[in-house]
Symmetry: C2
Subunit: 261 residues, 2 copies
Amino acid sequence: MSGSDGSWSTARRRNSSRTPATSAPRTTSPVASASRCGGDMPREVYHRDLAVLHERILALGSSTRRAVEESMLSLRAGDFEWSRRIDAEDERINQERLAIEERCIAVIATQQPVAGDLRRLASALFVTSELERIADHAVGIARLNLMMVKELSPRPLSYLPSMADRALAMFDDAIRAFDTDDVALARQVCLSDDDLDRLQDRVYADVIAAMRADAGVVERNTYLLWAAHNLERIGDRCTNIGERVVYTVTGESTDTKVSTF
Amino acid sequence: MSGSDGSWSTARRRNSSRTPATSAPRTTSPVASASRCGGDMPREVYHRDLAVLHERILALGSSTRRAVEESMLSLRAGDFEWSRRIDAEDERINQERLAIEERCIAVIATQQPVAGDLRRLASALFVTSELERIADHAVGIARLNLMMVKELSPRPLSYLPSMADRALAMFDDAIRAFDTDDVALARQVCLSDDDLDRLQDRVYADVIAAMRADAGVVERNTYLLWAAHNLERIGDRCTNIGERVVYTVTGESTDTKVSTF
């Protein structure tokens, strides 16, 4: 954790010992309570503010992860009702993203953070936006299911389930690296993205060959290509989070990944 | 321009009369000059700060627009060198996005903006991020060209050129609405997205039919589907910018668009 900002980390650790990182955000925050009681110094309130923000981002991460996992399960099961639910729940994720951003900006505006904390708050804004985008890719996968007809259950999906497993593992590592300032783990996330890209190549070869051989699967298989694309983008965004952790902790900057097509 | 914040708008207008909105950002900003000369009040410096930020976002918009336009032209011409150049130039757009974000956050942290300006700065952060994402979609289109073999020039592209024209018109309107707080124009952008979606449906039907009829075009035509998807996402992001303008000026909130698949 070299280079990490002590005050932010300390506040966060102390707080997270009371509350699981994946819990939903509190309706009454410790910040609000502290202000009402008047028993804390303003700096103490500020550190709790940062800790609550961090927890809210982790909770958003949990919702996002669930959306990714369930979107693939609903596609595999051909469960339209499930996919529709995932689509509908995305609005809550969008709203929470906006609320976190607003809170971040309010903290920046009112608390005049020191340089180290400012970099962390900028990073919090970045990670929040990437999480919301990952949830959008999950919605993309759920909507593909809604565009397909009923098939065998579980539906044959080439290497897509392997891609989903790999993407979720990257996601877990990226979130853990963000939570604990683990630079080594963050770098590992970036490296493992190549595996996901290779799996996508296999899906592509497999699915295109089937389309060439049988005109009847052309439309259906283009949907599988979209699903693979969504999973590949999720991997890219996990890499972006990993790179941001490296930058926040060490100051080293690397390229943000864009789609390979 | 009802509901707009006078001070920010005034500062911006005064500034933009001297400098075209689409020019590259200055290397020596008026903020820096004012500080050195010591001839201005801090509030005056702050307003110039906001105006310079606004100009930098418009300049980023110009770079992004060029990337979108040229990516489609390079795909149509089958010009690999051109596509590679667009891909390489994206790094400058990514860096400028990060620089603008950093500057926004620094202004928020040091100048303690009033509520109206804070909403504008949050909006500036949002628009900057959407512009960078639009440029990513342009890179996506340029990379598709690099994955295809040489063909007839101009390459037959179904309704993709019409989609590109429509997307660029939406982009211009979204940027103008952002620049001038034009709520009516911003709402118009959101409505016109349906036309783009309908054009995408036509590309889809056209391209899939050709794939069913001729196994030889299966792989090539999946690339056209990706290109259509990128253009559709550009339209979604223009809609997001339009919705953000409506929110910033009026306080009315609407959903942020995600992909339909």
